[in-house]
Amino acid sequence: MKPIRMASAAVALLLALTACGTTRAAEPDAATGTGTGTGGGTVTVFAAASLTGVFTQLGKDFEAAYPGTRVRFNFGSSATLAQQIVQGAPADVFAAASPATMRTVTDASLADAPVTFARNRLQIAFPKGNPARVDGLKDLTDPKVKVALCAVQVPCGAAAVKALDAAGLKITPVTFEQDVKATLTKVELGEVDAALVYRTDVLAAAGKVQGLDFPESGKAVNDYPIAKLSKAPSGEPAGRFVELVLSPKGRALLTGAGFELP
């Protein structure tokens, strides 16, 4: 089914349910960690798509360290995930790709104090072989160079805008993609000559695209906050997962994937 129809329907249905008022399952007391709702021993983590590789590994480590527990992930666009949490989706932990999307959740008083655990920097990605001979951000302003950017509503798109503003440059891309993966696909296939994506995405693409750092990227580094949700059904294990992310092991995995540490 087409995602747009499902999304609209899902949103509408969720909105309708909120309007009518839902009867929630018994609110667990976060402090006691008795863990109803998602069931004791299962941690549900909503995380930005760019964290897929790192968090999946951390999840396995968590399960190994705490036998009997399970970690379930929901990876996706931070903005969509934030919306879902606000609408009442049962999550324990939220790791966002930008402070703005985390704010959506904290504004709704659903998250305890978020902590920045990683930073992501933009890179210029281009197809293998660099067919357009892209050398720096300035080359992207050349009208003959086809550029793909993330849509402004998506964190990497917002970051791109900030970086370009800081550099005082104006790019007219040929497309604003709805997420980073789609943007990278266009680069991989050689449909565009360059794109502004995160360094982690370039690394994750493992050789299918090439990346180039650029000085202005420092002006638009995205902070990734993580927070345990105040209505976390699973209680204590959620907190422990957050600790794992912030631990040296977590930090090592993050740097390995191309993130910077705060």
Binding site: P3, A7, S8, V174
Partner: protein, 266 residues
């Protein structure tokens, strides 16, 4: 017994329950949209240029895509219905591929063939410096790809059901094969063609995955309504609802206007 009093046209009561259920099921999401729409800010939202832009683009591309589907699809339907090809069953199955393919996959497939580096697209680019992705033409191609099976299947059905003896009669009167097709066959299956075209248009209008994957997303050039709605959903659900309602209103108006035609010759 009540049975003696029932006339032939009345529905058995046991079917009214699922019928009403089906209706409610289909209408509920629409009701949800209407209920949660930001009616207070509707006026200013509708006036935003990008709303009209996306709408105009959607209507134009869907109509062009339908035109392409008619030009290519009707002859194809004829081939499937009447032609004596050996591999007809296989061909028919292939024609329905866009129906079962997830639209995004369809978009990727189109990129692989018609993209700048695609099998065919590469030659196009080398020869004319032109490639379909990121152009309005690309949107039309993506929409035509996903919507064509609707047209072909409708028209094939209509042709199969049509009486081919009229075509024989026309031949005995001296009509060339083209004249038989254009003056006799086509008019006789016109209701089926209209129904197919309407389905095709509606499908093209609502297409998202293949469009955004193949043609990309750029306001004014490739950002059709469904794309605008999806992106608006990221940050501004109310804008998404407004856009959805606009698309819905226009579609219903067009389809209702064709009402008499698309359920068959009345």
């Amino acid at each position: 017994m009540g049975a003696a009093h029932r006339t032939a046209g009345r529905m058995p009561w046991v079917l009214t329950v699922p019928a009403v259920g089906g209706l409610v099921f289909l209408i509920l999401p629409l009701a949800g949209l209407l209920v949660r729409a930001p009616w207070s800010t509707m006026g200013e939202r509708l006036a935003e240029p990008r709303v009209l832009e996306a709408l105009r683009l959607s209507l134009v591309t869907a109509t062009l895509a339908t035109a392409i589907c008619l030009v290519l699809g009707v002859p194809l339907a004829w081939l499937l219905a009447r032609g004596n090809l050996p591999g007809r069953r296989l061909l028919r199955a292939l024609v329905t591929v866009p129906l079962v393919l997830p639209p995004v996959v369809g978009g990727v497939a189109l990129l692989l063939v018609l993209g700048r580096n695609g099998l065919v697209g590469r030659r196009l680019h080398e020869a004319f410096g032109f490639s379909l992705p990121f152009t309005t033409a690309g949107v039309v191609v993506a929409e035509a790809f996903v919507a064509m099976p609707f047209l072909v299947i409708s028209v094939e059905g209509a042709l199969k059901a049509a009486d081919s003896r009229f075509e024989e009669a026309a031949a005995t009167l001296g009509a060339s094969r083209w004249r038989v097709f254009s003056r006799i066959t086509l008019p006789l299956v016109a209701p089926g063609v209209s129904a197919g075209a309407v389905l095709c248009w509606a499908r093209a209008l609502g297409e998202f995955g293949a469009t955004i994957t193949f043609a990309g997303n750029f306001p004014g050039t490739t950002q059709t309504m469904p794309l605008a709605v999806y992106l608006a959903l990221e940050t501004d659900p109310e804008a998404a609802i407004v856009l959805s309602l606009v698309l819905l209103a226009v579609s219903v108006a067009v389809l209702a206007g064709l009402r008499g035609r698309w359920v068959g010759a009345s």
